[in-house]
């Protein structure tokens, strides 16, 4: 029944996404991009595709970082347009999607502030998708008082609720006689990757419960599967990265870190939880996930993390394998009508496309030989559909 009434509120926004889907670059266009000999050629090629308007103002020899900013700004403008045309549940949903980028921005800003980078430079480098008005308030007060930064400024941001949860969890883990100094040190020493992964895990769980409670069945059908899959990927990545990690030297530390960073949704939780928490080698990890989906096939080709030093450009890392499978799933979600999954899939696939373009721009600017294995490292969205 929700197909009959989907058009009332959300039909227009979904239809815009369908029109935008036709603007993805095809394999033939990627091939032409690979044959470009220099950055100005790449830029003039991009101006003939859907990206025409965003690059017109720059000079031909555009640096890669500016190129990335322009492409992301275009995506952010499109997304803002769609968010403006949406109403009700869809607006909440789209805002939730953007929180992921806000997390990235805030963590980057905090890292930059720690390293005493000028705040203007930081503000110009933020991801435009994750822009929110309170981001200008993030600065460190005198005395490097990070705890007040967390307490006063970050709580007001839209992602403040995740920061609060994160702080509560980390403070719990300190020993009993914690002093103010300990808390200060905690914030100063915390690794940005750790903060980022924890916050994203909390965001994912929050998003999942939002989808479960507020969306129609047609949307849930597509979205819950995608989110569970993303959570499983995060879990596998966390475990993979913690095998042989030099910072986690005791088994207990490994298990607590894993428990903190692995999402509590998804096919792997809670059935395989005990097994994967204990996995200390790649084979043990493969054993742990073998019951689910096609994860066993995915991990078959993954390189051994204990031999991390031997990775070079040619190895297909776990990240590459996972991105491949993820893109296939997101492309499939465009096959259904009347579902919110298309918004999520569009965002992710467009991000992948921007990553591809930037990668190719880097390869071109370094003038690498055409048989360099790096040329094959891009993952083209919708490529499995044979178009």
């Amino acid at each position: 029944m929700d197909l009959c009434v989907f058009g009332v509120d959300d039909g227009y926004a979904e239809a815009i996404i369908r029109g935008l889907r036709a603007s993805f670059l095809t394999e033939a266009q990627y091939q032409q991009m690979k044959n470009c000999a220099s950055i100005p050629e790449l830029k003039s090629f991009l101006e003939e595709t859907d990206y025409q308007n965003c690059l017109q103002a720059d000079n031909p020899q555009i640096p890669t970082s500016i190129l990335r900013q322009r492409l992301k700004k275009k995506l952010a403008d499109e997304f803002e347009y769609i968010e403006a045309q949406s109403t009700g549940t869809l607006t909440k949903y789209l805002f939730h999607l953007r929180c992921r980028f806000m997390i990235d921005n805030v963590v980057n800003m905090i890292e930059g502030l720690k390293n005493k980078i000028d705040i203007e430079i930081l503000l110009s480098n933020i991801d435009p998708l994750g822009w929110f008005p309170e981001i200008k308030n993030i600065k460190v007060l005198e005395g490097d008082d990070y705890s007040s930064l967390y307490r006063d400024v970050l709580i007001d941001t839209p992602i403040g609720v995740y920061f609060m949860k994160f702080l509560e969890e980390s403070i719990e883990n300190l020993h009993e006689n914690r002093t103010l100094n300990d808390i200060q040190n905690l914030f100063r020493e915390m690794k940005p990757e750790y903060i980022r992964t924890s916050l994203k895990k909390m965001w994912l769980e929050d998003f999942y419960s939002f989808c479960e409670s507020e969306l129609m069945p047609t949307s849930q059908e597509a979205l819950l599967e995608l989110l569970k899959f993303e959570a499983d990927f995060k879990t596998v990545q966390v475990i993979y990265n913690s095998i042989g990690n030099r910072d986690l030297n005791t088994a207990a530390k490994i298990i607590t870190t894993r428990k903190q960073l692995c999402p509590t949704i998804g096919n792997l939780y809670p059935d395989c939880e005990k097994v994967y928490l204990q996995a200390m080698t790649l084979d043990a990890l493969r054993e742990a996930v073998k019951g689910c989906d096609n994860y066993r096939d995915l991990l078959k080709d993954a390189p051994d993390p204990l031999k991390r030093e031997e990775f070079n450009v040619q190895t297909k890392t776990l990240d590459d394998i996972m991105y491949d499978d993820e893109c296939r799933r997101y492309a499939l979600s465009f096959d259904g009508q009347g579902s919110y999954g298309v918004f999520y899939a569009y965002l992710k696939l467009k991000e992948q496309e921007i990553r591809n373009i930037i990668w190719l721009a880097e390869m071109i600017s370094r003038k690498l030989a055409k048989n360099h294995p790096g040329w094959k490292k891009i993952i083209i969205p919708f490529s499995h559909l044979g178009k």
Binding site: L3, C4, G7, V8, G11, Y12, A13, E14, A15, I16, R18, G19, L20, R21, A22, S23, F334, Q337
Partner: protein
């Protein structure tokens, strides 16, 4: 009240009607003109509800996908035309049905004549009511079906141009459903006319 126009005036008088009439009697003496006009309203109104539902569902998707893919504009107006056809079916049926309703000029006075007259009128009234139901409901669902399919057509045309003609075939089959309703409706109400002069027993 109906029993004064149609009923047996010797069998009931006002007080007796209040106390002796059963629910079946009261149902039986609902005026046939009520049934017939209600049928006309049903045929017209529910067909138009179906058609407008279809149009708004299609129109929204059409508008949205045209923003980025303007080439689909003219082709996809066919879906809107199919939905509109459903409303036209409803109007045609309503006009046919109205033509069959008319006052009875000459009501006889003796009991037998009145009963016969009432039977003919009831036949016509019921026939028109249920014609309205069958035409109206089938057009309602047909309009929704064509509308949802039309919105899918616009969307997939914006994504992949080759799919347009294939989905149009689905829409054509969908719009045939409304036609079935109209055909059966015409046959259903073909014999039913309110008699101008009461036929004799």
């Amino acid at each position: 009240m109906s029993q004064q126009i149609w009923g047996n005036p010797q069998r009931w008088d006002a007080a007796e009607w209040q106390s002796e009439a059963t629910w079946a009697d009261r149902f039986m003496y609902i005026d046939p003109y009520f049934w017939s006009y209600f049928g006309v309203a049903l045929a017209l109104a529910t067909s138009i509800i179906g058609a407008s539902w279809g149009i708004f569902v299609t129109g929204v998707s059409l508008l949205g996908s045209t923003v980025k893919a303007p080439r689909i504009r003219s082709k996809n107006l066919i879906s809107v035309i199919f939905c509109e056809a459903v409303a036209i079916y409803g109007v045609i049926m309503a006009i046919i049905m109205i033509g069959k309703i008319g006052p009875i000029e000459d009501i006889p006075t003796e009991q037998n004549g009145i009963n016969v007259c009432y039977t003919y009128a009831l036949y016509c009234g019921y026939s028109l009511f249920w014609t309205g139901v069958s035409v109206g409901l089938s057009n309602l669902i047909c309009g929704i079906a064509v509308g949802v399919t039309g919105s899918g057509c616009a969307i997939s045309d914006a994504q992949t141009p080759e799919t347009f003609v294939k989905i149009l075939v689905v829409e054509i089959f969908g719009s045939a459903l409304g036609l079935f309703g109209v055909i059966v409706g015409i046959i259903q109400c073909s014999g039913a006319t309110f008699p101008k002069v009461c036929p004799s027993a």
